[in-house]
Amino acid sequence: MAENSTNIPFYRDIRFLKVFFQILFVIGIILLAGFLYSNMLNGLSRQGIKLDWAFLKSEAGFGISEGIDYDPSDSYLKAFWVGVVNTIRVSIVGICCATIIGFFFGIARLSSNWLIQKIAAIYVECFRNIPLLLQILFWAALIRSLPKAENSIVISDSIILNVQGIYLPSFEPGTGFTTWSWYLLGGVILAIIVVLGFAAFRHFGRDHELQQIDRPSFISHIIFGAKWTAAPTFLIVAIAGWFLTSEPPFVTTSPVLQRFGYVGGMNLSPEFSALLIGLAVYTSAFIAEVVRSGIQAVVKGQREAARAVGLKESQVLRLVVIPQAIPIIVPPLTSQFLNLTKNSSLAVAIGYPELFQVGETMMNQTGQSIPIIGMIMVSYLIMSLTTSVFMNWYNHRITRFGQSR
């Protein structure tokens, strides 16, 4: 090989060709990038825009209707950050709602009750087959057509619907909150002591010889203990603290009608409400499908085997089906969460000031479309990346679990 391989003409040598094709490819990419870059410079000079990041520090000068503390005199960077936080806010609330509704309808689709099954099926088919944007526009229009504050629709004295959005009673720390948080802190410390002691006992204590071959690690004892000792300890302390605190740790305040509408409680703006309802309903239809197919994917043989062992129907579900369905459900569920987060960008159509909407306003004001689109993309990519890191970690765990099955 040694003597002969030097004689291979380069254009037939695999090693050369591999490198060659890659270099060719990279050159192609660089050329394309260069071409686009020079076009960009021309294009920008034609539009009279200079590309830089300095604009981020200058005064934004536009208002943002809701979100964390912000003033039009704050910088563009701050405005963008408000958008990011709003995206995260609507996404987290949306994910919670969508998951609850989705699991409800997913399980309903497997109900033995024909009527329930069909209602769930209709729900799923309707809401996942209609474009989300249309749904959001519809909800926004619906909320806009709600009555004025004086004639609000009041549901069970605490939920109020009117053209200014949705009002809910809020749940705020009361006078006793500080006292109670000390109890909580104590609970945490106690729980840590308990779990460490428990793990040490298990690890160094009994069955020393028996476990020598396959001895569980200290960490695994801690994980086991966290569930069975630490969590109960903490809960007991927290509940005891609740009753021992003389002042109420939390107070609920209901919205009250005043001259310019309702005050107090928690107000979800019309835009936020429409977006939230749209995202939650749309995504829940997909989650319902994920849940249904996850449960159905657990092979029939498993259920039959479980019944053959003598488990009751409820036990079959709890001990055999669900533990196997969860690992199947989680990956597509996560990607639904991610979809919801990305879909929150549709808020731009109804004016909820999330990441994309704020970004668009900034683009209109500064003309710095390239850096801003870059910032928007990076923000979403960070969220996606975080999720996929979690997914990889989770899949890794699942595969181990899968092998030990």
Partner: protein, 253 residues
């Protein structure tokens, strides 16, 4: 055991000190051997000993990392042309058949001749039908692989390899995935092929076939050729303990 009448003295495959690693795992630890034109060699040995890896280096399905392989005067190196030439000279039959499920049996056979040998469609089909006839399955030509039995699939696979008119045929456990009653139909075809003078390297545990057809039996263990001998010597008078153990275990079954 009759000496093969077709065997010549011209070497057709020359292997010199072949080494192969999968990452850090040393699979082939210096294989040196020569196969003569028309020779039939049976390769056996325990599972994981590197038999498949060895014969797959001969048509570059695996790359060897040290040593020289010369097939029919062409050295197997990083030269793209040589690799393509050698693949045309060397046919291969796999344990799992590896027929193309989306093509009919006859298309499976004509694909290589048409695409690689640039044969006309018509000529390729005639040749393919003749081959299928020889394999005894002419009536299965226009079915899909999934519609015929395992033994028939493996014979289609042999026909596919033969259609390229190779000088050498590699068989990697061609009967291991077959039901017992189908093994003999495949072995019959291979026997017939052997008598026609083809050079054959066969990885198999069919000891009867080895005794009857082989000119030489090679015993692999842990990436080295522990013993090689004519079948009569190999089976009746093995030299190494590992060989003895292997033979006694295989014959028990």
């Amino acid at each position: 055991m009759t000496e093969n009448e077709n065997i010549t003295n011209d070497p057709i495959i020359i292997c010199e000190d072949i080494h192969k690693w999968f990452d850090d795992f040393h699979v082939l630890k210096g294989i040196t051997t020569t196969f003569k034109k028309g020779e039939k060699a049976v390769i056996c040995g325990p599972s994981g000993s590197g038999k498949s890896t060895f014969i797959r280096t001969i048509n570059r399905l695996e790359e060897h990392q040290r040593g020289t392989i010369i097939v029919d005067g062409i050295e197997l190196s990083n030269d793209l042309r040589n690799i393509n030439l050698i693949r045309q000279e060397v046919g291969m039959v796999f344990q799992q058949f590896n027929l193309f499920p989306h093509l009919t049996n006859i298309k499976n056979i004509t694909l290589g001749p048409i695409q690689v040998r640039k044969m006309s469609k018509r000529a390729a089909e005639e040749a393919a039908l003749a081959l299928l006839e020889r394999m005894g399955i002419a009536d299965q030509a226009y079915k899909y692989p999934s519609e015929v039995s395992g033994g028939q699939q493996q014979r289609v696979a042999i026909a596919r390899a033969l259609a390229m008119e190779p000088k050498i045929m590699l068989f990697d456990e061609p009967t291991s995935a077959l039901d017992p009653e189908m093994i003999s139909e495949v072995l019959d075809v291979m026997r017939e092929l052997a008598h026609s003078g083809m050079t054959m390297l066969v990885v198999t545990h069919e000891m009867g076939f080895a005794r009857e057809v082989a000119d030489r039996v090679m015993f692999f263990d842990e990436g080295v050729v522990v013993e090689e001998a004519a079948p009569a010597d190999f089976f009746d008078n093995p030299q190494h303990d590992r060989t003895k153990l292997f033979i006694s275990q295989t014959l028990q079954h």
